[in-house]
């Protein structure tokens, strides 16, 4: 039932969730936003846990970033101290936790978007007034995200197959190897984008000024219910954030 929702409704939900993720800094409220997002993604039959599994190899990087974020933030009460050196403060912990929640909110947003058909998503954006070129670009970007994840995993496999045990390396070597992983992925993404733009141009993309579509999206009562619920929850969360 929820899968048949208009993509514009899903876009509104994602917009609200991501905006709350950006605005709110309170860790408990951020956790609440993430949990609501998780429930919504589950209602749309999105599989959050299989996505986490796919990100398993990159999780190390996220954890490293959370730790760095926590350690390099000063202020608040000291939580972990070695001699006179404060390693972790309450504010550092709060920032690190907030970062983790924001990453998780982005992931659930991605899952919610991914439950809509790509063609419907493009049409939804077009009917919202976004020019087709931009809508198409955005849809291609989303479509290529799993490929990027796959490429990161492939590079990890290629590195391990050279006999390198990532776990046994020093922190410095690990950080160096992470740069080995991301450089080809970004270079590959740029090259793919170049090839793709050539390919779509060759197929007559933007050959005519006006583009017609046989598909027209219509919102139903369920969409309006979801929109009302989302807006109510968003306003309520912002109200709570401002009060506390």
């Amino acid at each position: 039932m929820t899968k048949a929702l208009d993509p514009r409704t899903k876009l509104l939900i994602v917009l609200c969730l991501s905006s709350l993720g950006l605005i709110i800094t309170h860790p408990i409220l951020l956790t609440f936003v993430f949990l609501v997002g998780l429930l919504i993604s589950m209602a749309f039959k999105g599989d959050f846990f299989s996505l986490i599994k796919r990100f398993k190899k990159v999780l190390y990087l996220f954890i490293a970033m959370i730790i760095l974020q926590s350690l390099f933030t000063t202020g608040g009460e000291p939580l972990v101290e070695i001699g006179s050196v404060t390693l972790l403060t309450t504010l550092g912990f709060q920032r690190g936790f907030g970062y983790l929640m924001r990453v998780l909110i982005i992931l659930v947003c991605g899952i919610i978007v991914a439950t809509a058909k790509m063609r419907h998503m493009v049409q939804g954006l077009v009917q919202l007034g976004v020019p087709y070129d931009f809508a198409f670009m955005a849809s291609i970007g989303i479509k290529f995200l799993p490929l990027l994840v796959e490429e990161i995993q492939d590079t990890f496999v290629a590195i391990e197959l050279r006999g390198i045990d990532f776990k046994k390396l020093s922190l410095k070597a690990k950080l160096e190897i992470i740069s080995y992983i991301f450089t080809p992925v970004f270079a590959g993404a740029l090259m793919k984008a170049k090839k793709l733009s050539l390919s779509v141009e060759c197929r007559g993309f933007r050959a005519y000024d006006q583009r017609t579509s046989i598909l027209t999206l219509k919102m139903n009562s369920l969409d309006y219910l979801w929109i009302a619920l989302t807006l109510t929850l968003t306003i309520w969360s912002l109200y709570l954030y401002l009060i506390y």
């Binding site: 290629a158 197959l161 050279r162 006999g163 990532f166 070597a173 190897i177 080809p184 270079a187 590959g188």
Partner: protein, 218 residues
């Protein structure tokens, strides 16, 4: 009784619920060059990846040097098996040719002068000297293929699984690759996954045909 270098028993593999390999039985010796042929989608690459520990399998067993592959880490398999991906771009990750070749030795703690010597030697063998400091992103397909194979050999593997090694190589390079594989034959076992019949005929000791996820015959 001596066990073969790689032994596969009743191995089946599915990807996303789709059965790709069914009841594969295979013995591969270290001193042999075996070719794996078959139509697209017959499961050749999947079998190669399962043998290298890249793809998990659901049924049966694979033994590498008497030890179940499931108990080995990918990095420990990588010290024994060199796996060439169908698309060499997947395994080239350093930004320059020299860096790509020196990668494994650098992180295994080899001294810099020894690494430099080995890199220069490999560059000469694969006629890549002029590209030593070139960016890996702008190499031709053939150059990438040669670099990927050279990088594998830097690790001194005991067995090579080469998925379409002649793709993107002109006849001269193909011949050079053939000579190189011949020179390795006594020391390194090989599984050639290829559609290149003439290359297989010249270099493989045995040819296995795959169809529908099964090995049909020798």
């Amino acid at each position: 009784m001596m066990m073969p270098f790689i032994q596969v028993n009743q191995m089946s593999c599915s990807i996303k619920g789709k059965v790709i390999l069914t009841d594969i039985n295979l013995k591969l010796e270290q001193s042999q060059c075996v070719a794996l042929v078959g139509p697209n989608g017959s499961g050749k690459t999947t079998l190669g990846k399962a043998l290298a520990g890249i793809l998990p399998f659901q049924k049966g067993s694979i033994y590498l040097q008497n030890e179940s592959i499931k108990e080995k880490s990918l990095s420990s398999i990588g010290t024994v098996i060199g796996y060439l991906f169908q698309n060499p771009e997947k395994q080239i990750f350093a930004s320059t040719v020299a860096e790509e070749l020196s990668f494994a030795l650098k992180y295994k703690g080899f001294p810099a002068d020894e690494i430099e010597k080995s890199v220069d030697d490999m560059l000469r063998r694969f006629e890549l000297n002029h590209l030593k400091n070139a960016s890996t992103y702008f190499l031709s397909q053939g150059e990438k293929q040669r670099l990927a194979i050279a990088a594998l050999l830097m690790n001194h593997p005991q067995y090579l699984i080469l998925d379409e090694p002649t793709t993107g190589l002109d006849s001269k390079r193909k011949e050079q690759l053939g000579h190189l594989l011949d020179s390795l034959k006594d020391k390194v076992g090989m599984l050639l996954i290829s559609h290149d019949k003439s290359f297989i005929r010249r270099h493989a000791y045995q040819t296995l045909k795959m169809e529908g996820g099964q090995i049909l015959h020798d």
